[in-house]
């Protein structure tokens, strides 16, 4: 497996107004791997992944210092086109949020606005392959015109994953993608993540330690805006170096 670095954060500091949310984060994320970010609520892990596709740009008081490089290019360079950055870096959120449109339109929306496909045939192909890659095709192929919101929670989340991958991104960010799902739907998403990492680089924020162990190869532990420890998932959960990491993953934090 390739272990080349896809995303590299260097001395990243993030502020919301006067309040500093991230302190000097330097973290490498490997290509075709799943990197899990763990830590208590408010530790900055979501802030961090939202920096990777510049989602924080929409918050007026948010200020970012330092850099995040994807394939060696700083995404905070003023010349970077944010729209094409977000084409390259897709995102899946905690709560499934399909558009109030049909299943078909949910998936073809991205390829349409990014000009990836023009003809109906091309769109059909993309919709089918995206839904197949999101392991949803068999369940929805006969009801593509039904609203996306008519699907179950787990299916909606897979629809959102299909929507994210329809524009051929290189990176997928997942912010607690299974926290609203039952164990069966969670298992399907985890199985999907395992499959998707062959094609994409995945960064996942999760509150479930066991999920981090199951899906990721690398884990970073955040606390109070600082990256306390990062290493192979196996090392972090069997024998972490830092006592704070150990206290957190063993439930001794308080």
């Amino acid at each position: 497996m390739s272990t080349s670095v896809k995303i590299s954060a260097n001395h990243l500091n993030v502020f919301y107004g006067q309040k500093q949310a991230l302190f000097d984060i330097s973290l490498d994320i490997n290509q075709n791997e799943v990197t899990a970010l763990i830590g208590p609520s408010g530790c900055g892990k979501s802030t961090f992944i939202r920096c990777i596709n510049r989602m924080n740009d929409v918050i007026d008081i948010c200020k970012v210092e330092g850099e995040i490089a994807i394939d060696g290019k700083n995404i905070y360079d003023p010349k970077v086109d944010v729209v094409s950055l977000r084409e390259k870096v897709g995102m899946v959120f905690q709560k499934p949020n399909p558009f109030p449109k049909s299943i078909y339109e949910n998936v073809c929306y991205g390829p349409k606005i990014h000009g990836i496909a023009q003809s109906k045939d091309e769109l059909d192909t993309i919709v089918e392959s995206s839904l197949k890659r999101a392991a949803l095709w068999n369940e929805v192929k006969d009801r593509l015109q039904e609203p996306g919101t008519s699907l179950s929670g787990g299916q909606q989340q897979r629809l959102c994953i299909a929507r994210a991958i329809s524009v051929n991104p290189e990176v997928i960010l997942m912010d607690e993608p299974c926290s609203a799902l039952d164990p069966v739907a969670t298992a399907k998403i985890e199985e999907l993540i395992d499959e998707l990492k062959k094609t994409f680089t995945i960064v996942i924020v999760t509150h479930s330690m066991s999920q981090a162990v199951r899906v990721s190869q690398k884990t970073g532990f955040f606390h109070l805006g600082k990256l306390i420890e990062v290493g192979s998932t196996e090392k972090i959960f069997k024998n972490p170096t830092n006592n704070m990491t150990q206290d957190y993953i063993t439930g001794r934090f308080g």
Binding site: S210, F237, N239, T245, T250, R252
Partner: protein, 221 residues
């Protein structure tokens, strides 16, 4: 050092309970081993009946520890140090049970106890028994204190146990070549020496597990 208190108090209590069970099982094994050496070397008949009882109890402990571990795994999905506490308890209890079996087997080999026995034959065996007993005692000490240094001491002691076992067997063979009065009994003593050496191997494994528990890594020479 890691904080001792879990947010979920009962989780911490369950781990403590498991730790205590291993220590209790260990001290039972320790007295069984001592009894078995007494049965052999001072022909203590009462020791033999005590041994049968202790061995039963040790087996019960093993089953109890197994249950505790399965419950912990299912309920808590332990991580890091907690995972190592759980896994090593499983391994250590297996080794303790085997030591108990070997010690009981040794005592049983001595039945019926002979009327008289040359102390010459027992000299090196006593020394071997004493060193294995102290090796087990040290390993339990290492477990209670979660001490890496003590565990390494126990691991290193195993070389002396092996040497002494070899010496014992040689001495017994040379005794047997001159004196065949207690031939059957003395032949059994050869097995006793071999079993003590095997008990030493189990104690070494216990110590290696304590090292793993403390360090999170395997012991390397």
């Amino acid at each position: 050092m890691t904080n001792d208190t879990h947010i979920v108090k009962s989780y911490g209590e369950e781990l403590q309970f498991l730790n205590d069970s291993v220590i209790q099982m260990g001290s039972l094994t320790e007295s069984l081993l001592a009894d078995s050496m007494n049965a052999i070397t001072i022909l203590d008949k009462e020791a033999v009946s005590r041994i049968i009882q202790s061995d039963k109890k040790i087996n019960e402990y093993r089953a109890k520890i197994d249950t505790q571990i399965m419950t912990l795994l299912v309920k808590r999905a332990p991580m890091a140090i907690d995972l190592r506490i759980t896994i090593t308890a499983l391994r250590i209890s297996q080794d303790l049970e085997r030591i108990g079996d070997l010690a009981k087997g040794n005592a049983k080999k001595m039945l019926p106890l002979p009327q008289d026995l040359s102390q010459e034959l027992l000299k090196s065996l006593k020394r071997l028994g004493a060193i294995v007993e102290s090796q087990l005692n040290k390993s339990l000490d290492a477990y209670i204190k979660k001490s890496k240094d003590l565990s390494v001491e126990v691991i290193k002691l195993d070389t002396s146990v092996n040497e002494l076992a070899y010496l014992s067997i040689k001495e017994m063979l040379s005794f047997l070549s001159k004196d065949t009065k207690n031939l059957e009994y003395a032949t059994n003593l050869l097995f006793v020496a071999k079993n003590l050496e095997r008990a030493g191997d189990h104690i070494r494994r216990i110590a290696e597990n304590i090292y793993f528990l403390v360090e999170g890594d395997y012991y390397k020479k």
